[in-house]
């Protein structure tokens, strides 16, 4: 991310202050949101978006910065959702040990799966991670061991939580908690990608052979990226759990991994703020598209247009294809103004390749 106007450095600060102050603002946001901005529903909408943002940041460290495409990240997110619920409800643990347990277990899980799966590369790696995640989804969905509640899922035992975390009136506390975790994870990611290890990650993304020639072991660095990414995805899962108050099998399914990938692509792989914006936008659209589909403006459309619009996944599929074809760098790339060239070229139909610098090849 280079260049930009004079006001550029102030923009992140302004956004951050705006987000922190959101629970205090009771002004309505017409069209975009229902009711006042600080209504519980709206805060919840944003906060869940932030929780996905944490997971998307995590996913992006691996995909966007190291160039490793994992199809198994739902497993780690799911560990963050399920393990604290089980520890609190089934085993009667306190909040802090339950969360600590989930984070340690998620990290270990990532270490074991990463160590095995990274023995393979590229498409094989994607398949192995997909298979491991699928195994996890089967265990959860079929209620193996009677711990996960099967298809029904589990609800969080609210009695065991501190009072400030429980109930609709405390949505603003959860909102701030989520935002705080997001900021921490963001800063940690920033620190990581600018660290020597982060440089090596980007080196691996660009040319793994070359990194090897320099005498470094790509395996070790990729494993580090995988473990950090898995651990942070677990953090995202834990936060998501507190926001939604329960664990359902959707949190470990392959669809969630695809959603994470979508968020990263929408926002821009290999940028830090991009995936967060992508995640918030994804969740927002996922919720709002169904609302808009019921609105008068859409009801007036012919059925051929109206029916597909009611289906967020269908719309996302199309958005996804469009982005990959015309804006492979996502929002972040479009913002940086580097990606309008390919769009113009594509519309003009001159060059078929969209080759550009950066991103995953």
């Amino acid at each position: 991310m280079s260049g930009g106007g004079r006001l550029r450095p102030l923009l992140p600060v302004a956004i951050l202050v705006g987000l922190l102050a959101a629970p205090l603002v009771s002004a309505p946001v017409p069209v975009l949101l229902d009711g006042p901005l600080n209504g519980p529903g709206n805060l919840q909408l944003l906060a869940v978006g932030f929780a996905f943002g944490i997971a998307a940041l995590a996913y992006n460290l691996l995909f966007g910065y190291t160039g490793v495409l994992s199809f198994g990240h739902a497993l780690f997110f799911g560990a963050g959702v399920y393990l604290p619920t089980i520890a609190l409800g089934e085993w009667g643990w306190g909040l802090v040990p339950a969360v600590a347990f989930a984070l340690v277990a998620g990290t270990l899980l990532a270490a074991v799966i990463g160590a095995l799966a990274l023995r393979t590369q590229g498409v094989y790696f994607a398949m192995v991670t997909l298979a491991f995640a699928q195994a996890g989804a089967v265990l959860v969905g079929k209620n193996v061991g009677g711990l996960t509640g099967g298809e029904e899922g589990l609800s969080l035992p609210f009695r065991r939580l501190p009072r400030w975390m429980v109930g609709v009136v405390n949505t603003d506390n959860l909102y701030w908690l989520t935002l705080a975790v997001l900021i921490l994870v963001y800063l940690l990611s920033l620190r990581l990608v600018t660290s020597p290890a982060g440089r090596v990650w980007q080196g691996i993304r660009e040319n793994e052979r070359r990194v090897e020639m320099l005498g470094l072991r790509p395996y070790a660095f990729k494993l580090l990226a995988f473990v950090v990414s898995g651990a942070l995805a677990t953090v995202g899962g834990v936060v998501y759990l507190f926001l939604t108050g329960g664990a359902t099998p959707r949190a470990v399914g392959a669809d969630l991994t695809v959603a994470l990938l979508l968020m990263v692509i929408i926002g821009g792989a290999g940028s830090l703020w991009g995936p967060v914006a992508g995640a918030v936008l994804y969740h927002y659209l996922n919720v709002r598209l169904t609302v808009w589909a019921g609105s008068d403006a859409v009801a007036g459309l012919p059925a051929v247009l109206r029916e597909p619009l009611r289906d967020p996944l269908f719309v996302f599929g199309l958005i996804f294809v469009g982005l990959v074809l015309f804006f492979p760098q996502g929002l972040a790339g479009a913002f940086a103004g580097r990606r309008l060239g390919p769009l113009r070229r594509a519309l003009g139909g001159s060059t078929p390749t969209l080759a550009g610098k950066g991103g995953v090849e």
Binding site: R119, M127, L139, A254, L261, D311, G317, V321, V324, T353
Partner: protein, 293 residues
């Protein structure tokens, strides 16, 4: 004894269905380096086209005629769909395999969701002729006839594919292209056309597989393909990417392991399959018969 026979035959039928999906995936990957995530949607569309055709044609042609017409319609329709996807969306992204994979993921999402938009998300019973649902007794086991038809179809496809690859000019191009694409191009052969052909062929097999899958399970729903796609991926990787015979072999292993495992507990089969994948990848990363890595 009869249980073992039943499980073996249903396992082989399941294997046949996985093979129909996996063969196309494997060919596409072998030649184009693209892991086609839209393959599950092709499978789903095959099933829905067949269901739609049977619904329209059953009164005129009778159940058997309608089923046969549905097989042809699904195969052709999905082949055309696949060709359109390849020409319209994958061609602009040649040389960028990861982006091609992502595009197929997006198309797969949109296409399978489109079935839910058009025909609602609920499962639909799949009407098939009585003789397909009726059972035959083999060593005391009562096995539905559609299992045998599925196995026979997969064997025919396997034979046909091997003949195509080994005995025809296009098969030669496909095999050579998988080996070294630049060299084939340098010899003045239009590899792009081979890409479209292979993608359409894979689509045709997925469409065909979708019809048989619908007959096997007796009902269809919009997630129909994506569930089976994961197992087909596993089959492709275990068999060795790019090897049709390897896919057939791996499909048999996976189909049987899954059937026998799931007979004991509802989840053991799926779990064993994943375990098998992990073992194969650790011991023999290129798969049973794979040459590519």
């Amino acid at each position: 004894m009869s249980t073992i026979v039943l499980l073996t035959l249903t396992g082989l039928a399941l294997a046949a269905m996985y093979f129909l999906l996996a063969a196309g995936l494997s060919l596409i990957f072998g030649l184009m380096d693209v892991l086609n995530f839209a393959h599950g949607a092709f499978f789903t569309w095959g099933a829905y086209v067949a269901w739609w055709t049977v619904g329209r044609a059953a009164d005129v042609l009778g159940p058997t005629g309608a089923f046969l017409l549905a097989l042809v319609a699904a195969t052709l329709a999905v082949a055309a769909l696949a060709a359109a996807v390849e020409i319209g969306l994958l061609r602009p992204l040649y040389r960028r395999p990861i982006y091609q994979v992502l595009v197929t993921l997006g198309i797969g999402l949109a296409l399978s969701q489109l079935t839910s938009v058009i025909w609602r998300p609920d499962a639909r019973p799949f009407p098939q002729p009585d003789w397909l649902v009726a059972t035959s007794t083999v060593f005391g086991a009562r096995v539905p006839n559609n299992r045998f038809l599925l196995i026979a179809a997969a064997l025919a496809v396997l034979g046909g594919l091997l003949l195509f690859l080994r005995r025809t000019r296009y098969g030669l191009i496909v095999r050579a292209g998988a080996e070294n694409r630049e060299m084939v191009q340098a010899l003045g052969i239009d590899v792009d056309r081979a890409f479209t052909l292979v993608f359409a062929l894979g689509g045709a097999l997925a469409g065909l597989g979708g019809v048989f899958g619908a007959a096997y399970f007796g009902s269809i729903n919009p997630n129909f393909g994506s569930v089976n796609l994961i197992f087909a991926f596993i089959v492709v990787v275990i068999g060795g990417l790019g090897s049709v015979t390897g896919s057939a072999l791996a499909a048999v292993v996976i189909g049987l392991a899954q059937q026998f495992g799931n007979y004991y507990t509802s989840w053991a089969g799926d779990f064993v399959v994943v375990l098998l994948l992990a073992v194969v990848l650790l011991v023999r990363p290129r798969g049973l018969l794979g040459t590519l890595q």
